[in-house]
Amino acid sequence: MTSTVDESERGRKAGIDDAEPAVDADALADLRSLQLESEGDLLSDLVALFLRTAPNQLGIMGCAIEENDPAALAAGAHTLKGSSANFGAQRLQNLCGEAEALARRGKTTEVAALLGPIASEFQRVMTALQSACPTPLP
């Protein structure tokens, strides 16, 4: 319960409402426009790639906290931030950016408090991306 309150509080601090879409429709439309007619469904491929690789980054971040490795923690947060930005997942991007900045200052314990909100937001992004894909994910 405390954790939920903390996460909600962190979301408010980030200036983002819980009802805000997890991904940006314009960003997805932009990725769709990248599609060449002759090829398969690029957006679905990108989403599948993101859903396959993002959990690895979350895992890397978790391990880095356990091992008190700020460099690896910052790298994991940076990659997840960059990946999620492509889909306009603003809240996930902001949380990862916050984690990266803290990790670069060596504050691994403070990043640990962000892992929960990041994982929750990733679930929200995952759901939004799955429903946005026109074809079943490979």
Binding site: A27, D30, L31, L34, L36, L42, D45, L46, L49, F50, T53, A75, H78, T79, K81, G82, S83, A85, N86, G97, A101
Partner: protein, 187 residues
């Protein structure tokens, strides 16, 4: 045109590669800075689009190595940065020889423009190198080879490539020769 793309994030690398391919370029993708450097050493490419933060060798140090590589044609280096990239990182990148910057996620229209500018600058750079190093000139008529199997008058070539205009005159040696010829023909 062949472009070397260096990006460690798998999603962004697919978007970057597909975008450049859609523009008609041939893309070689490296998954980190060190792989990009190894690829560049094997086959230098005239345009590099690289992420800033990569494990091992980052974008700034990749650029630095490319600039320090001897006997290498000028490479146009575009660095992909984040919205939170510090101004000191920009200064360091500039000092390392980065030509242009783009923030991620990329605006594809802007990337197209940047690549277009890069190609134009590379053409100029080739012209300058050609002028500076060696101009192929005909030993008889003194026409210049423009590098595409056309022979142009020296004046035309210089005017086209450097904007130089010529005012025509006569040197003392030629003046003496011409006067001698005129006197001879008068006799």
């Amino acid at each position: 045109m062949k472009i070397l793309a260096a990006e460690d994030d798998p999603v962004t690398s697919v978007i970057l590669t597909t975008t450049l391919q859609n523009f008609g370029h041939e893309v070689t993708l490296a998954r980190d800075g060190m792989e990009a450097w190894e690829m560049f050493k094997r086959e230098p490419m005239r345009i590099v689009v690289s992420d800033l933060n990569m494990p091992g060798l980052d974008g700034i140090n990749l650029c630095r190595r490319i600039r320090e590589r001897p006997m290498t044609e000028y490479t146009y280096f575009i660095l992909l940065t984040g919205t939170d990239t510090s101004s000191s990182a920009y200064h360091e990148a500039m000092a390392a020889g980065v030509d242009d910057f783009m923030t991620k996620p990329m605006n594809r229209d802007l990337l197209r423009v940047r690549i277009h500018v890069a190609q134009r600058i590379l053409r100029f750079s080739t012209h300058v190198a050609q002028l500076k190093d060696l101009l192929p000139i005909c030993v008889y008529c003194h026409k210049i080879n423009d590098g595409q199997d056309f022979w142009e008058r020296l004046e035309t070539y210089m005017c086209e490539h450097t904007g130089t205009s010529f005012s025509h005159g006569i040197c003392p040696e030629c003046m003496e020769q011409q006067l001698a010829m005129l006197e001879k023909s008068a006799v």
